[in-house]
């Protein structure tokens, strides 16, 4: 059930009971001609705290809402919020409550849990709204309550504030219709011998718009907002089961089933979600269903790093979700479907459960980090030095295990990503900070931002491969052409800042530092009986920094302007065979340094064209002996521009192959003298790679420009294929030298090639990717 609906219901029940007032003459005049009772309420409500507790001695704890105020948004503690309620009882249809809410604010001064209460909280929350609600409660057949409800809210604002800075959902409209919901207590729905409140929902519709999202308590200004959002969802035949008792002792347990009403997809966008900047991304014609089993809500104790917490956990979530048309700037990429199963599972003797633990405050504030990479540690330590252990915010521990199939449909032809498996766990912190606390001194002090910290996030995933066509098609590769790794394991640490506003107008801006360590990436792999063999990048570490990266949506598509990027990708062993014990061809170090690069993702794949002949249309092409490649209207296109800069201090573009590395310092678990002591290796280095515009060594605006398109279409061999089309253009690509570096003469490398310059390259490729016959 949507949170806003629950919230509205709470308003109706809780507030109406709390604030019965006498009817004055004017109020009586307003209800003239109707039966029933009219109630006018002008209210200022202040509550010191409300505490929910599932503490039974052995487990559980308190969840406390502090300093709650309800009143007029202009002065929540000094001006009244007015509402009007007409109550009628009909002998046939039951109880009607027709309510009108004028501008009202609900303000919560803090939410905290367990031992954190009194020291730090999730932050302050403000919810402003006005609107109407019609609630009808009657008797259901054969038993229970039959409830219908219509809610319409406008001028809704939600503000989350931590440490004096605010995140703002601005100017929402919310419309909800609950039709023929039956509330009934039934036996043995959850657990043996227990009863549960069962809510059968025949129909539920929801429409929400968000005018702007920004980091300001005031209204979002143009150019300082993420953009606007809109969503319409219709559900049918859904059910919620709820009873007392959590995963440990007291608490709440729920089973749920939700199903999209697909009939609304027959016209217009149907069930849709959209984001609008200068242009719109729309997830239209959504369908599917989800079954949630054993969802529990508990107050947990003493998690190792975040302490007492709210624990949300479920036994299983299974279902499917389909986007009938993913549209970017008015053009369709095609259909996307995901069939998923979140169920607990054990990998390498470790049990991975699907759960989310939330604790107030910023668990790692003020800590000195030790990721094993001292250069990167400085970035993380600086990020968390901006807050203290009493700062407000949200700390999360997340653990998951999921299997899924993904299906992309392009003009009616399918591309399947088979047997995706992912599991892992890790910590995240979220808080809103004022601009002067940014890790990037060039950012404006006045622009607050969302600070996202990621600590020891252990991520594992793999796929079996791709299939083109049906599920019975042969497995194949092809992901290599997109730089996608079919299997990976790594630990992520990251410090990321997210701002409102893009490169032009609204949008999103990112700054951040990230480290993937203890990593293993598959470049390509093949299943051989009970195992996989392939080429793997083992003992890898990827340190990545980005500044002023902006995301906008305009008529070109989803546009990433990449600001300044610098990274270092270190691979201890490129292994053939087993991912961790296969034969090694040595290690690699790839450094990248860019500024002003861009990536644009747009809908519509490659243009249809004549291959092996001449002709601008199918008939002419065929007549001239060619093959007309019809890629249809849908597809995905990525256009990139990479400006590679000359070396600037430690930042550079280079590629190094290392052999003969001393891999063991004799101390188990001590990696300080492993591959990372690169000075033990013989190195072949392509040094100081950079782009220029072709007529001097300084002008650098063109870079490497590549356009890659993905389609599913019929090949000249009459086989449905993954079609990869690329056009790469380079005006000038330079390498200062190619060096052989002996470990005993690091300062005096032998230069193999003193200069390399490639000019004027325009490479076009069209590849049909199919299974090996």
């Amino acid at each position: 059930m949507n949170k806003s609906y629950v919230f509205s219901a709470l308003l109706l029940t809780g507030l109406a009971q709390a604030e019965l007032v006498g009817l004055d003459e004017a109020s009586l005049e307003q209800v003239n001609g109707q039966t029933g009772i009219g109630i006018n309420m002008d209210k200022i409500i202040s509550v010191g705290s409300i505490t929910y507790s599932d503490d039974d001695g052995a487990s559980g704890g308190d969840l406390q809402f502090q300093n709650i105020n309800i009143g007029n948004p202009a002065n929540v503690t000094g001006s009244t919020a007015h509402s009007q309620h007409l109550i009628d009882v009909d002998g046939t249809d039951g109880l009607f409550i027709d309510s009108l809410f004028e501008a009202t604010r609900i303000q919560v001064g803090g939410i905290s849990v367990g031992s954190h209460i009194g020291s730090r909280s999730f932050g302050q929350f403000v919810y402003d709204f006005e609107g109407t609600n019609l609630l009808q409660i009657g008797g259901a057949t054969p038993s229970g309550f039959l409830i219908n409800s219509t809610t319409s809210l406008k001028n809704v604002d939600f503000v989350w504030t931590t440490n004096g800075a605010s995140f703002h959902l601005d100017n929402l409209t919310i419309d909800r219709n609950l039709t023929n919901a039956v509330f009934e207590e039934k036996e043995t729905y959850i657990g043996s011998g227990q009863t549960a409140l069962v809510i059968d929902i025949a129909n539920y519709s929801s429409a929400t718009t968000i005018g702007g999202i920004c980091f300001s308590a005031a209204d979002c200004a143009v150019g300082e907002s993420f953009g606007s959002f809109s969503r319409e969802i219709n559900l049918i035949n859904s059910q919620v089961q709820m009873h007392g008792g959590g995963r440990e002792g007291e608490g709440i347990t729920m089973n749920m089933y939700f199903e999209f009403d697909e009939s609304v997809n027959d016209t217009g966008d149907g069930n849709f979600t959209s984001y609008t900047d200068d242009a719109t991304i729309k997830l239209a014609k959504q369908s599917g269903n989800v079954t949630v089993s054993g969802f529990t809500f508990d107050i947990g104790r003493s998690e190792a790093l975040i302490g007492d917490h709210v624990a949300l956990q479920f036994d299983q979530v299974i279902g499917s979700y389909k986007i009938g048309s993913l549209e970017v700037a008015g053009a369709s990429m095609g259909e996307f479907e995901m069939i998923f199963d979140f169920s607990d599972a054990t990998h390498d003797t470790v049990l991975y459960q699907n759960k989310l633990l939330l604790a107030p405050g910023i668990a790692f504030a003020g800590e000195a980090f030790n990721t094993g990479n001292t250069n990167f540690d400085a970035f993380m330590t600086n990020f968390y030095s901006k807050v203290t252990n009493t700062s407000d915010g949200i700390s999360l521990f997340n653990e998951w295990n999921m299997t899924a199939d993904f299906i992309y449909t392009d003009d009616g032809s399918n591309l399947r990503v088979e047997n995706y498996l992912t599991y892992g766990n890790g910590y995240t912190t979220l808080d809103v900070r004022s601009g002067d606390l940014s890790i990037d001194d060039s950012n404006e002090d006045s622009r607050s931002f969302l600070a996202v910290g990621v600590r020891d996030y252990k991520v594992n995933y793999k796929i079996d491969g791709l299939k083109v066509g049906s599920e019975s098609s042969e497995l194949q590769n092809g992901y290599e052409f997109f730089g996608f790794n079919p299997e990976a394991n790594f630990t992520l640490n990251a410090a990321i800042e997210i701002r409102a506003g893009g490169s032009e107008g609204n949008g999103i801006t990112f700054d951040g530092d990230a480290l993937l360590s203890d990593a293993n990436f598959a470049v390509t792999k093949t299943n051989v009986g009970t195992k996989d063999v392939g080429v793997y990048l083992d003992d890898a570490e990827y340190e990545f920094h980005f500044r002023d990266v902006t995301l906008d949506v305009d008529n070109q598509g989803i546009k990433l302007v990449l600001g300044e990027l610098w990274s270092e990708f270190r691979v201890g062993n490129v292994r053939f065979g087993d991912k961790t014990s296969g034969a090694s061809m040595g290690g690699q170090i790839v450094k990248s340094y860019q500024a002003g690069s861009e990536l644009i993702v747009s809908a519509g794949g490659a243009s249809s064209k004549c291959m092996g002949g001449i002709g601008g249309e199918a008939s002419v092409c065929t007549t001239n002996g060619g093959y007309w490649l019809d890629t249809g209207a849908e597809g995905i296109t990525l256009a990139s521009k990479q400006i590679l800069l000359k070396r600037n201090g430690a930042k550079e573009n280079s590629a190094t192959w290392l052999t003969g590395t001393v891999n063991d310092n004799g101390t188990t678990g001590d990696k300080s003298d492993d591959f990372y002591e690169e000075n033990t290796a013989q190195q072949l280095k392509i040094d100081n790679i950079y782009t220029t515009d072709g007529f001097d060594d300084d002008t650098n605006t063109y870079g490497i420009q590549a356009t890659s398109s993905l389609d599913v279409a019929t090949s000249p061999l009459a086989v449905t294929s993954l079609v990869v089309s690329t056009v790469t253009k380079i005006k000038e690509l330079n390498a200062e030298s190619i060096q052989l570096i002996h470990p005993n003469a690091l300062a005096a490398p032998a230069t193999l090639i003193h200069g390399f310059k490639m000019q004027n390259m325009n490479l076009s490729a069209t590849l049909f990717v199919t299974p090996i016959p």
């Binding site: 042969e474 053939f576 034969a583 007529f695 690329t726 253009k729 310059k757 090996i772």
Partner: protein
């Protein structure tokens, strides 16, 4: 493709000559055995500078020369095509550049396969399998059945400067090559690590 992977591919291309081994005929039995396994078969075409892109253009006639993207027909007096220049010596002796210039043309192919493959004792490459060893994984490229060249051409030259637009540019073209026609290929190219990593 990200820069990371682009460089990785370049690096693999560089090291490939060090490790390629053993052209291998594919038997019918082997063809049956590979059915249903991962890997990928590629068909398609690569086109180098199909639309050219003149190098040395003087937009207003008053100099200097600049690099401007466009069709070869836009600058008929200019050289057209991709240019690779490599300098082997810098401080002593010859300081010129070895050049592949004006590279253009199209290559199309059918049935190029790529997969990881575990070599076993059952494999026979005319004795070469002993150099690989039982249980070793190789990166196998199945050579395309047909490789077709269409006006694939380039010049081999030496030059005084890397760019033809640099001051003092003098270039000696030693010979030019123009490929047309088809090549039928059989066998596999196997790449695997050897020695001490």
């Amino acid at each position: 493709m990200t820069f990371k992977y682009w460089l990785l591919m370049v690096l693999l291309a560089v090291v490939t000559p060090l490790h390629l081994h053993a052209l291998e005929l594919i038997t019918d039995d082997e063809l049956e055995r590979v059915t249903g396994q991962n890997g990928v078969s590629l068909s398609g075409e690569l086109s180098f500078n199909e639309e050219g892109g003149p190098l040395n253009v003087d937009p207003d006639g008053g100099g200097p020369m600049t690099s401007t993207w466009g069709s070869c027909t836009d600058a008929p007096d200019s050289r057209c095509g991709m240019r690779l220049a490599v300098q082997l010596n810098k401080d002593t002796g010859s300081q010129g550049w070895y050049v592949l210039d004006e590279m253009r043309g199209k290559i199309s192919f059918e049935g190029l396969t790529m997969r990881s493959r575990e070599i076993t004792n059952a494999d026979s490459f005319g004795g070469d399998e002993n150099d690989i060893g039982d249980g070793i994984t190789v990166l196998e490229f199945g050579l395309p059945d047909k490789l077709k060249f269409e006006d694939f051409s380039f010049n081999v030259a030496t030059s005084s400067t890397a760019r033809p637009t640099d001051a003092g540019f003098i270039q000696q073209v030693h010979f030019g090559i123009d490929f047309n026609g088809s090549v039928n290929m059989q066998g596999n190219l196997l790449i695997f690590p050897t020695g001490n990593p």
